[in-house]
Symmetry: D3
Subunit: 281 residues, 6 copies
């Protein structure tokens, strides 16, 4: 198995069934601009359905940043559709709205990826870094990670996902969520842990973080992919819907998925104290 | 007042208005199989409407487990409807779906019980133990409780309630929720406390836990049952619905319920520093 | 700019763009009765649209209480519409329902205020104090604040907002939320912090709290009001709705709001290390 | 195959896979009282899962009525739980609420029956007759059927299903829906047809109606039960949910159900101009 | 009983418990401008809670129009807040949004009126005339009524209610709804009847329409107000919510409302063939 | 302006701002197979954002069919991913689910097209023909159109949109909707009109239908595109959401869109009895 080559992302196999997606523009603190969005979506749509993939690690190249967010310099350049002249604000609004939907769609491709994605955060994790990691399933970070919901500082409400997904992944519209989102003040790894944005802070270097991420990924990859991917799908469908609707979703989902051979394999291996193997998914 | 006799549950009166439901299959770590589900639902439907009951304590018999979950040995036996032969996967899916709905319905009978239910957890609280205690209102545990959302380990996504209710009772689809649900790794009482799954960890023995549960129950039972049961109903209706819809639910609910004599009794007792008594409900 | 004079609230300008609303009935522990509700709504509707206002601080006068809640003495007086005679319980229910809607509407006027509101809590913060501060965006408190969801103690389920907004602002219907709401037991500042009800506990006096509140307000007021108010609106719309619906809301909102001059001003100031100024909103 | 004997319902096999449920209390215009509710639920839960059943016809015995609704005489008798004395209106409200839920649950058992139910209406179809037939999938009637949402005439808002299901089955809260529900005025078969409550009016006698019902039932019964029952489930899940959520439900449902042998059998029979046979479901 | 005097509306008592609200600006085809909105809301808030009122008739003065809609001449005048200068489109958007919410709120006050409102339409019923009558419970019209969802013709999407309520009151987003809303083409009374927008077309003069309206109102006013108003509330809550949620709403509502004396009065009168009288509500 | 060439669709300009999309596989009754789906989505994504396009006409080439639906012959060929071998039903379910999502996504691209789409139906309009035309805004047909929700006849529940969109476009889950969907019986143009599936039946030939479609399209194209496209967006967002949420959507949408020059142009043209022209959108 080999992946196509991408210009701004390294996509490599870390271990059987585990793919590492590395944002690779370290000279610019992994800041995003136009072509990177296109690649990001292509990568996650590919991995979502690839049966050789069970867990994805997402991190940023270099020592300084997961991603510093949007590349403001590039965004300010005049060739953006948003810089065009418009006959009136309603027509500009239409183009802006389409553009936002397009970018949201990229981040949503990460959130909809069928396989679990673990975001491994270090250094600057600003603006888009929050949108992106909120769309992942788990977030681990080094102790020196610097977080910031930066958008207010550039005069806008975050619009590619942070405001919609942050309450979901930290548990509600807490006083702290309002604090960091309204003020755009930076916050530390400790604060991120205490407020449930990350679930682990690795005290050592980025290398330690990568190691812990890989270990967790290996653990997940050893489990039934039918079970793991089903669990992800059902948990993600719970937000904004009632318990009753989620129970229904679960029953309909499992009506098919319980018919896997994984159940027998898992049970038997449990009884025999063996490590089970599972068919690809 | 006396309750019918159940084979797998001890249902006893701990104090006035307080009923203790004890899962009673300690030789098998209180693991569940067929007939226990039927009894569990019957018990909670009974207690829900019994005016002599104001608070329910739910615990597991023996020193080793609240419940180790599904009795896999029994589940593997060939006489289950799921083991029958089916003409095709769609027909098997239909039977599986019905079966899941039936089991979900049992756990939902705990969640819909009109009286508060306090889960007192110790030892193994695995798989179904999470489904069941997530359907309770409060969760206390001993410091040596061993938790696990075990289902992924037997090749399936938890389907009788954990994935629908866990985000609700711990506050969102946090990184930690994904971690423990996708990996099926065990977690400790401390971790359960830190992540809001339980609200108290009792440092001593199971007996200490039972004592603390009973004291809390007595405290709740001394309050207006109209107020307590209304509070439960309104809080449970909030998840997956908007603030506006929940405010409406509250207003319509209280239009009737404020017409209780409890308001006068409670207010007067407050002024007179007396303990109020309330009519049954 | 000067505000109209209110009988039970001091409404003053603390700093440019920052208004301080102080509940001013300290002799009665800032307990609420009839005319205060009317004023509270008028104040927040005024501030919501006033372009001179960017952040609001809400606190209670005196050293003893943010507010002790409903003034039960006044409520017990016979001239309340609820004390009238009714031909039957359905007709009383109609009047009660209307009355609850009316009071909910007051608290909702705080929640819908377009500008961020920071609740600064000290002393008794009981009953209505929880309803009211749950409708604010952030909650800070002194270390000696005494909290209580008091309603169960007067025989009723809290009905002007606590039960609908508390799960939203602390993150779900946790074991702790059930504990404090079902039991009406008081809880401390530490407990409030640990369970996400407040995001900061100021160790010193009330004056320290006011100072920290003001500093935070100044920080928020220095940011783009288009960005800050948009962020508030989008976050508040997330609860009880799906991620998908919230993303749509965000895109439509920002189609207009990104056309502010704030974006250029903020970006330019960022590059030039200057403090930006923004047009009123 | 034989069904248990019921006191108030004739449950018979009209043709292969087609069951006829006849409300059998013609001397009282098939009016409902206590024990009939219990039987009705038992019958529909039984038929829902019985693999010998593909379509259900529901009609009323005798020439005069589908059902005249609630047996008011019986309801007025003093031994009803609602006639008991209550300490206060909140406690009575609790018992009333439980009672309504219990009756709603009976009608819901008809709506949730997995097999299509065709209501064949004639004569008086009043009150409960509307609740009941609104829970069916199709409604045919004779030209002399007399319809009435009768509840307002006995001083109450219809509460076992009409007001929740009528807008769904006729298409919205139309002027006509408000007209007939607010006024309790009777309406004719023609009016029912014009306003989409029934889809066919049979001009002849009740016998003609039964014949047309049976023919339609036979037609449905000749189709793939996997396809028919899936179509019912998906259509019923659409109301009150977004198109997007219903598309998701459909995809998850069909992931299992497309794996039936019915697809091949149906396609092949189509090509070969043969009548297919399908496995039971 | 006498109502305050309004400048643009005649509010009179047509018969016991029946109030007639007449839009009274016939010289301008009852077109709306600023002060009329304020009065309209005040009137419906008043009538909603007035126990002397059971049914409301809403019509337009003069022979030519129910209402021709917004008074475009007035709207074009320069003193509107929307004509002010704004620093940028985001700030204008904020003022526009607030203004729309304010106008929507007026129409919503008609929709939320607890008493049934019958719109009696004749002549021009354009633009706002559709918004307004869609917020009523029933719509009757003369055969020469001219309808038009006019907004597209003035360059905007209807924003004070038509697009949100029309699908609800005619049954879905039909091809016809899209046709008339996207094209702003006028349509006739017959077309309105055929497509469920009105439920009756009176063939004669406006006087005939008023007579038929009054007769219907008298019929409704003779029924239990508890039953009628409850039916309205439950039906209006059904749109956009699931059958399950609406059933719950119904049960909680009726837990209080079934405790009226109307049930006994209505039943007894039915048995005795007498006309019941009911307490005010 | 010229469109790219498509193999299975003719995409031509019928008149200024009006594009005609013709399904072009008449030899096979315009039945769909693999590559056609890809083209269909590409076309509608293109037209959705093309400022030269204001209205789209969708029809089928040849005299015999709009489309006969899925090309069953092609579908039965062995190279489909669904024909592959799978280790177990859960793994097949995963591939099936992805495949359904992919096809649903194509039909949804028609429904999400920002410009109004008028389906012009004639001859066979079977299966997919219903899915596809339900995703359009208006449906006109010739009097000899033959409709059929055909899916049940091939052993499956319709899964690319019919069951989710039909209740929305005809107004609820009526008895008729259940009738035609459960039975797969064909129905006529008259029945389609009576039940609101189409809004016009053209009595003459297909050429007459095309003419009427074009006239309607021209009428729509002469209106403000800001108004028309906004109206479509708001109406489509109403289904499955509450009136309150739709009002909010409308206000936020129009905050930007009312700032078009179309309002002035439309108003002025109205006063001057001129035909307005509008900027592209």
């Amino acid at each position: 198995m080999a992946f196509p080559k991408f210009k701004f992302f390294n996509v490599t196999i870390s271990a059987p069934f585990i793919v590492h997606v590395e944002i690779n523009r370290p000279a610019k603190l992994n800041a995003f601009y136009g072509p990177m969005w296109v690649e990001l979506k292509a990568i996650f749509e590919l991995l979502s359905h690839d049966p050789e993939v069970r867990v994805i690690l997402l991190s940023g190249a270099g020592e300084r940043a997961f991603t510093a967010g949007l590349d403001v310099e590039q965004a300010a350049k005049a060739d953006s559709p948003l810089s065009a002249n418009f006959p009136d604000p309603s027509r500009k609004a239409t183009v802006v709205r389409r553009h936002i939907y397009e970018l949201q769609d990229v981040i949503t491709s990460v959130a909809r990826c069928e396989k679990p994605v673990i975001a491994l955060l270090h250094g600057y994790t600003y603006g888009l870094g929050i949108d992106l990691s909120s769309a992942c399933d788990m977030r681990f970070c080094t102790s020196d990670t610097k977080f910031c919901v930066k958008e207010v500082d550039i005069g806008l409400a975050a619009d590619v996902g942070t405001l919609s997904r942050l309450p979901k992944v930290v548990g509600g519209v807490t006083s702290w969520v309002k604090d960091i989102c309204l003020s755009a003040r930076p916050f530390s790894a400790d604060e991120a842990l205490k407020n449930n944005f990350v679930s682990r802070v690795v005290s050592g270097s980025k290398a330690e973080l990568m190691k812990e991420g890989l270990e967790t990924a290996k653990y997940l990859a050893s489990k039934s992919p039918v079970a793991v991917q089903g669990t992800k799908s059902i948990l993600d469908a719970s937000w904004g819907r009632t318990v009753e609707d989620n129970l229904t979703y679960t029953a309909i989902w499992n009506a098919a998925m319980l018919q896997s051979t994984d159940v027998q394999r898992a049970m038997l291996s449990g009884l025999q104290k063996r490590t089970p193997t599972f068919e690809k998914l």
